[in-house]
C-alpha cells in the first residue's frame, strides 16, 4: 500500500507563468520518457523480479517516481495558473483548452496521450533492468533539453534536481543488474 504525505519531495518553484514551457514540460507528466511511464514501469516489473535487491529497487524507485510525477504536475499547474483561453490559444494550447480547459492531462509535448506501449515488462530481469537504465538515461536527457528551453532560474533549479535523480536511479539499477546477473550465474539459470 501507499500512504500520502501532504508535502512535495522538493520545493517546486517557478519564477513566472509560462504557457509555452508548460506545453513542453507536460511531456515529463504523460510522455514516453516521463514520470508516469517510469513509475508504472518499475512498479509493474517488481512482480517478476527474482531477488530481494531487484524487488526492492523496482518498488522503491517506482515509489520515488510518483513523488516526481507530483513535482511535474505542480510545475505545470503553476506555469499555467489563471491562463485565459486567448493566452492558451496564443501559446499553441488551444487544442488542450478545447479538450481540458486548464486541467492537467497525461500527454506528451505534442499532445499525444499516454499509452502503455511506452513501457514493457519482459519477465526477464536482465532485460527489464536494461530497459530501466535506458529509461533513466532518456529521462535525464529530456530534463537537459527542458533546462535548455527555459531561462527561468527557479524552474531550472527544480528540473536540475529531477535530472540528477535520474543519474542516481541509473546507478542503482546498474548495481541491481550486476547483483542479479551474479545470482543467475551462481544458479545456472539462463
Amino acid at each position: 500500500m501507499w500512504i500520502y504525505e501532504k508535502k512535495l519531495q522538493y520545493p517546486a518553484k517557478v519564477g513566472k507563468t509560462d504557457l509555452r514551457m508548460a506545453k513542453y514540460l507536460i511531456t515529463q507528466y504523460g510522455g514516453p520518457d516521463g514520470e508516469l511511464s517510469a513509475a508504472l514501469r518499475y512498479l509493474n516489473q517488481r512482480y517478476s523480479m527474482p531477488t530481494n535487491v531487484t524487488k526492492a529497487i523496482c518498488n522503491d524507485i517506482g515509489t520515488e517516481e510518483m513523488a516526481h510525477l507530483e513535482i511535474i504536475a505542480t510545475l505545470v499547474y503553476k506555469l499555467t495558473k489563471d491562463a485565459t483561453a486567448e493566452e492558451m490559444r496564443k501559446a499553441d494550447l488551444g487544442g488542450h483548452y478545447a479538450d481540458h480547459d486548464n486541467a492537467l492531462y497525461y500527454v506528451d509535448a505534442t499532445g499525444n496521450p499516454w499509452t502503455a506501449t511506452y513501457i514493457q515488462a519482459k519477465g526477464d530481469p536482465a532485460a527489464d533492468l536494461h530497459e530501466d537504465m535506458a529509461a533513466e538515461e532518456k529521462a535525464r536527457a529530456t530534463y537537459q533539453w527542458l533546462i535548455d528551453l527555459t531561462d527561468d532560474p527557479d524552474l531550472k533549479d527544480t528540473l536540475n534536481f529531477l535530472r540528477v535523480r535520474e543519474i542516481v536511479h541509473f546507478q542503482r539499477f546498474g548495481e541491481a543488474l550486476m547483483l542479479v546477473q551474479e545470482y543467475q550465474n551462481s544458479k545456472h539459470i539462463f
Partner: protein
C-alpha cells in the same frame, strides 16, 4: 504560508530527501554499516522536525490529526498550492 513555516518545511524536505537517497543506496548495499548509521541518524532528526512541524502547522499524514478540534487534514494549502 509564513516564512517560518516555509523554512521548516524546506528543512523537512531536505531531511526526508536525504533519507530517501540513503534508502535507495541501502537497497543495493544492505550490509554497509556506515550507510545504516547515517540513515538512522537522518531519520531520527527527520522525525523530530516532523513532530515539531505537525504540532505547529497541522497534519502531514491523516494519522497526525490527533487531538485537533476538527479534521485539519483538508485544510489548504495542498502541496501544489504552496509558493516557495
Amino acid at each position: 504560508m509564513q516564512r517560518e513555516q516555509l523554512e521548516m518545511l524546506k528543512r523537512l524536505q531536505a531531511l526526508e530527501f536525504t533519507a530517501v537517497d540513503f534508502h535507495l543506496y541501502l537497497d543495493t548495499h544492505p550490509t554497509d554499516q556506515r550507510a545504516l548509521a547515517d540513515y538512522a541518524n537522518t531519520v531520527r532528526e527527520m522525525e523530530q522536525v516532523k513532530a515539531a512541524y505537525t504540532r505547529n502547522y497541522g497534519p502531514l499524514l491523516p494519522t497526525d490529526n490527533l487531538g485537533e478540534p476538527c479534521w485539519r487534514w483538508i485544510e489548504e494549502p495542498w502541496p501544489w498550492e504552496i509558493e516557495y
